[in-house]
Symmetry: C2
Subunit: 585 residues, 2 copies
C-alpha cells in the first residue's frame, strides 16, 4: 500500500484549477504523494491571469535540493517554467542529483500560453526548454500550437553551430504571424511528432501531440485513418462512445450505441466531432492514436496540467491497471527494459486521457470563465475506514458504536442481571433453556445455509464446522436441561415461542434473501453476546472473517447501512429473547 | 453533487506535507474545491525548512482579488502568514470584499513555528495577527505554545491605549525564557481558551486549544476530568479506542476492549497516554473536550494544517455527517443561526480530529525526519465510474467492454448468422425452439426468485411483471412451435438438453446463492441479446435498474469482478445455447 512520490515543477494557480494545484489534486487522487517545486506564482482565476510573481531561480534550486534528496520522486512532471534562469536551475539540479541512467521518468508539458491566452513562458526561455530540458524528457506533451513552435525551434537549432545562436523571438513572431506550415491534419500531427523525436534523438523519448484544438468530423476522421492505415505500426484506441465512428471495426458493440442513440437525436449525432491525440514512440517507429468524441464544456481550465500529472502518476504507480482497479504497487523497472517502459507510457497516456476526459465531463460550472476540472471524479469517500492501530476492527466497532444503546439493552438485560445476582426466577430460566434448544437448531441451520451459499471450500468448511459444533453442543444442552428437570421429551414437545421464532426466522430469511455477508452479520450478534457456545464460535469468527470481507469488498454507504440495519435488528431480537425468558411468553 | 470552494491562505511546502499542499490535499479528499493564496514559499522537506521566499504583500493582495470574486469560498483557512504586511493585505482584501455579516467562516491556524522548530512568523507580525486578524475569525486553532503566546499578546493589548504599543518582541522573549505561567493541565487549557474568547469578544468565536504537546496518563486524565466535571456545560467525546479510559462511563463497549486487549500486552496498556483537545464555544459558555489516545508516530509533519483544513472543509460542506457517510450537500445557514453554527463547529472539529488521527496512523514513513500524513485515507479509487454524458451507462458498458470477445461470439454466433441468411437447418431451429420453451420456464422462475429476494414492493412488482409476461408469452411460443410442426405435447415430452440445463440452472444457482444484484446481472445477458421477448424486457430493465443499483450501492473492485464473472459466464452460456441448436445436442 505504498503511495509513490511524484514531483511537479510548475507555477501556482491561485484559482486552484491549473498549475501545481491541478497537479497536486491529480496526483493525490491517483494515490500518489505530491511534492511541489514552485517556479512562479500567478494571481489567476477562471477568467484569466491577473498577475505573475516570478520566483528567483536560486530559490527554485533550493526547493529542488530540499525535495530530490529527502523525498525521491518516482516520476517528475514540469509545467509552467517561467524563465530561462529557472529552466537552467532545474536542469542543473537534475544533473547534479541523477546520472542519465537513474533519473526517474520526466514528463514535460511545454506550457507556453494559458487557456486564457496569457504568455507563460518568455521567448528567451523557449530555447532553454528545447535544447536544455527536452533532451532529458521521457515524454513531451505539447498541444498543436506548442508542437509547431517546438518544431520551429528544434529545426532552427539543427542549422546553427550553437543553440544559443537560435533567435527564438523571431520564430515566435513567425508562428504568431502564421508564416510557414500549420498542422491541420492527423497526418501532420504524426509527422511533427516523429520529427521532434528524430531531432532530439533521445533514447526512449515519446511525444504526445494533443489534438484538442483540431476537432474533426466523422467523415474527415475516417478518411484520415484510412490514409494512415498503410503505416502498419499504427494502433488506434477508441475512447468513450467514440467506437461509433466505425461500425465495421472490431469490438464494436451495437447495444452501447443503441443506448446512446436514445439520448441523442440524429442531427446532433451527425454534428459530432472527434479529437485525436497522437503518441509517437521512441524513434518514431510506432504510432498510437487515441480517438475520443470532442467534449463541449467550459470546464477546461488546467486540462494540460491534469493530463500530464495523471500520466506522471500512472508511471510512478508502475502497475498500469485499468481505471476500475485499485492501483497501488511497486514501480516498474522502467530503466531496465525500454520496451516495457514504452508499453507503460502507452498505458499511462491512455489512462491519463480517460481520467482527464472524465474529469471534464463530470465537472460542475465554477467561475465566470473556463472552470476547473472535477479532479476527484475517480475517488469516493470510504463508507468504512481501513483497519489501523487505533481501530483494528473498523467494521465490528462501527456496528457496535452505531447501535450502542441497543447493545447495552441486550448485554445488560434484566434477565442477565438477575441471573448474575441469583435472583432470577427458576421458571424463567427453565423457559429460556427450553426455547434456547429450539433456537440452536435454527442457528445451526443458518450456518448450513451459509455453507450452501458459500463460494469457496474455506467458507464451506468454516460454516460447516460451526453447524457441526452446535449440533454436538445440543447434547450437552440436553444434559444441562435434564439437571434442571427438563427432559429431551419436554424439549421436543415444547412450542417455539413467538420471540424465539421471530429471531431465528429473521436470521434464516436474511440468509435466504441476501448474500453470505448479510447472513454473517445476522449470526454475529448472537456470537458476540453468548457465553459458552459463543466463546468457541467467537474465536472461529474473530479470525477476522467479517473484517476480512469488508477489506476485500469495501461496502458502499448503502450496503453498510443495510448491514448495520440487519445487525441492529438482531441485537434487538437478542434482547427480546431474554425478555421472553422473563415473561415466560 | 456540488463541491464547495475552500480558500486556503498559507505558505507552500515543497515537501508536500504541510502548508497549501496539506490544505489542498485535505480539501480535495473531503470533496471540496481548493483555491490557494500563497503567502510564502518554503524550501522544505521532512527534516526541516531550508529556505523561505517571501511573497510581496501586493501580490498576496492580487491573489486574494483573483479568487474572492470569481470563486467565492464557503470557508477560509489561514496558515503560515509570513509577515505583518501580508496579514494587513489579507485583512484589507477581506474587508473590501465582505461586510461582517456575509463573510464566510474563517478558521485561523496561528502557525508561528514549524514542527521542525523553524520560526514561520516574525514577532512584529504576531501583533497584527492578534489585533487585526483574530477578531475576524470564527475558529482559532492554536497548540499549547501558540495559546500561551497569543494570550500574552492579547493581555498586553488590553493594558495599552493602542495595539501598536504592544512590544511583541519582548513577549516572545518572555515566552522563550519561560517567564510567567505555562499551560500544564486541561484546566489551564480551558481557562486560556476562555480568556482568549473573552478578550476578543467576537461574536460566535470558538477556540480550539490543541493538547497534542501535553500527553497525560490515564490516572491524571481521570483526575482532571473529575475536577472539571463540576462545569455542567462540559461535553467529553472519546475518540478511537480511548473510551477504555473509564469503564464505568455510558456507552462503554466491553467487546471492543476485549478485542484491543488481545493486541496489546498489559504493560503497554498501562503506559498508554491520552491527549485532549479543548474546544471553547463563544463567550466561554460551553466546553467540549475531545479525548484521544496519544499516537506515537513520526508521520506528523503538517498535522495542524491538515486539521484546520479538514475543519474548514467540513464547515464548507455544511452537512456535518459522520466520516462513514458520503458528504456532499448545500452549505448550512451558518450566519442566520448562531447556535446552529456553533453545533456545526463542534461537529466539524470532531470529524476533523478523526480524520487527522486516521491520516497519521495510516501514514507510511517518508523522508528522514517527520513524514507527511496519509491525506488520502478517507477516499478509495472508484471501481466503477459515475454516469456521465460520455458514458451514460457505465456499468453495462463496463460489462460489455470487459467481455467484448465473448459478446461477439454470442451475438454473431453461426446459428444467428445462418438464421439471418436463411441457411439454417430447420431441424436445428426446431431443436432450438423446443429447448427455448423449457429455458423460458426456468427464466421466469429466476424472476420469481428475484421477487422472493426483493426488499421493496417496487422490486417485487418489476420481477413479478416479467415472470408474468414470460408465462403469458409461453402461449405464443407454443403457437409458434405448432406452426413448425411441434405440438405442446412434443414440447412437454422433450428432454432438457445439457446446454440448456447448464445455463438455466446456473442462473437459478446464482439467484439462490447471491443477492438480487447478482441475479439481475445473470438474467441480463439474455435480455440484452434476445429479440421479441427481449425488446419488451429490455425496456423494462433499461429503465436503469442495474445502473441505479450501481449508483446507490457502488461496487468495490471485488464485487465488480464477481458481477463481471457472472455476466461473462452467462454470455458464454448464451453462445453455448445457440451452439446446442446447431448441434441438436
Amino acid at each position: 500500500m505504498s503511495s509513490p512520490t511524484v514531483l511537479t515543477i510548475a507555477g501556482s494557480d491561485s484559482g486552484g484549477g491549473a498549475g501545481i494545484q491541478a497537479d497536486t489534486k491529480t496526483i493525490q487522487v491517483h494515490g500518489c504523494f505530491a511534492t511541489n517545486v514552485v517556479t512562479a506564482l500567478t494571481a489567476q482565476n477562471t477568467v484569466g491571469v491577473q498577475g505573475v510573481h516570478e520566483v528567483p531561480s536560486d530559490f527554485v534550486k533550493q526547493q529542488m535540493k530540499s525535495v530530490l534528496g529527502d523525498l525521491p520522486p518516482k516520476a517528475i512532471k514540469t509545467g509552467m517554467l517561467a524563465s530561462s534562469n529557472v529552466i537552467r536551475a532545474i536542469i542543473e539540479e537534475l544533473q547534479a542529483t541523477y546520472s542519465e541512467e537513474d533519473m526517474p521518468p520526466m514528463i514535460i508539458d511545454p506550457v507556453m500560453i494559458s487557456t486564457s491566452n496569457h504568455t507563460l513562458l518568455p521567448s528567451d526561455a523557449i530555447g532553454e526548454l528545447c535544447f536544455g530540458l527536452l533532451p532529458l524528457a521521457r515524454l513531451i506533451t505539447p498541444n498543436i500550437q506548442e508542437t509547431e513552435l517546438l518544431l520551429r525551434c528544434l529545426r532552427a537549432g539543427k542549422n546553427v553551430p550553437h543553440h544559443s545562436d537560435v533567435v527564438v523571438g523571431d520564430l515566435v513572431k513567425e508562428q504568431e504571424s502564421g508564416t510557414g506550415g500549420r498542422i491541420q491534419s492527423i497526418g501532420q500531427m504524426v509527422d511533427a511528432g516523429k520529427e521532434i523525436a528524430h531531432i532530439l534523438q533521445a533514447k526512449d523519448l515519446t511525444v504526445l501531440v494533443k489534438g484538442g484544438h483540431l476537432p474533426m468530423e466523422k467523415t474527415s476522421l475516417k478518411k484520415a485513418l484510412h490514409a494512415l492505415a498503410s503505416d502498419t505500426h499504427m494502433t488506434v484506441t477508441w475512447k468513450g462512445e467514440s467506437s461509433g465512428a466505425d461500425e465495421e471495426q472490431e469490438g464494436f458493440i451495437e447495444v452501447l450505441h443503441a443506448y446512446r442513440d436514445q439520448l441523442q437525436n440524429e442531427s446532433k449525432k451527425d454534428e459530432e466531432k472527434y479529437v485525436v491525440d497522437v503518441l509517437i514512440e521512441a524513434s518514431g517507429s510506432r504510432v498510437n492514436l487515441f480517438v475520443a468524441p470532442a467534449i463541449i464544456s467550459a470546464s477546461t481550465h488546467g486540462t494540460g496540467c491534469t493530463l500530464s500529472a495523471a500520466i506522471a502518476s500512472n508511471l510512478a504507480l508502475g502497475k498500469h491497471s485499468k481505471l476500475d482497479r485499485d492501483v497501488r504497487c511497486e514501480a516498474i523497472p522502467y530503466l531496465d527494459q525500454s520496451s516495457s517502459f514504452l508499453r507503460a507510457v502507452v498505458q499511462a497516456v491512455s489512462e491519463g486521457i480517460d481520467y482527464t476526459q472524465y474529469a471534464i465531463v463530470t465537472a460542475e460550472a465554477k467561475g465566470e470563465g473556463h472552470g476547473p476540472l472535477n479532479h476527484g471524479c475517480i475517488v469516493a469517500r470510504r463508507a468504512l475506514m481501513l483497519a489501523s492501530s487505533s481501530d483494528p476492527h473498523p467494521f465490528v466497532s462501527h456496528l457496535l458504536r452505531s447501535t450502542s444503546q441497543e447493545w447495552q439493552s441486550y448485554v445488560k438485560h434484566p434477565f442477565v442481571q438477575q441471573l448474575g445476582k441469583g435472583t432470577l426466577d427458576p421458571e424463567a430460566f427453565r423457559h429460556y433453556i427450553i426455547q434456547d434448544w429450539h433456537y440452536l437448531r435454527n442457528y445451526a441451520r443458518a450456518h448450513s445455509l451459509g455453507a450452501y451459499k458459500s463460494t469457496s471450500f474455506t467458507e464451506i468448511q468454516a460454516f460447516s464446522e460451526i453447524a457441526l459444533h452446535i449440533a454436538k453442543e445440543s447434547e450437552m444442552h440436553v444434559q444441562f436441561c435434564t439437571s434442571f428437570g427438563v427432559s429431551l421429551e419436554d424439549l421436543q414437545q415444547a412450542t417455539e415461542s413467538p420471540s424465539n421464532s421471530a429471531y431465528s426466522q429473521y436470521i434464516l430469511d436474511i440468509g435466504a434473501q441476501g448474500d453470505v455477508t448479510e447472513l454473517l452479520v445476522a449470526v454475529f450478534s448472537c456470537l458476540l453476546g453468548y457465553g459458552e457456545v459463543g466463546l468457541y464460535l467467537k474465536r472461529k469468527l474473530e479470525d477476522g472473517t467479517l473484517e476480512q470481507r469488508m477489506m476485500v469488498d469495501p461496502p458502499s454507504s448503502a450496503r453498510l447501512a443495510r448491514l448495520t440495519k440487519i445487525w441492529s435488528d438482531c441485537v434487538k431480537l437478542e434482547a427480546a429473547f431474554w425478555q421472553m425468558g422473563l415473561d415466560r411468553s
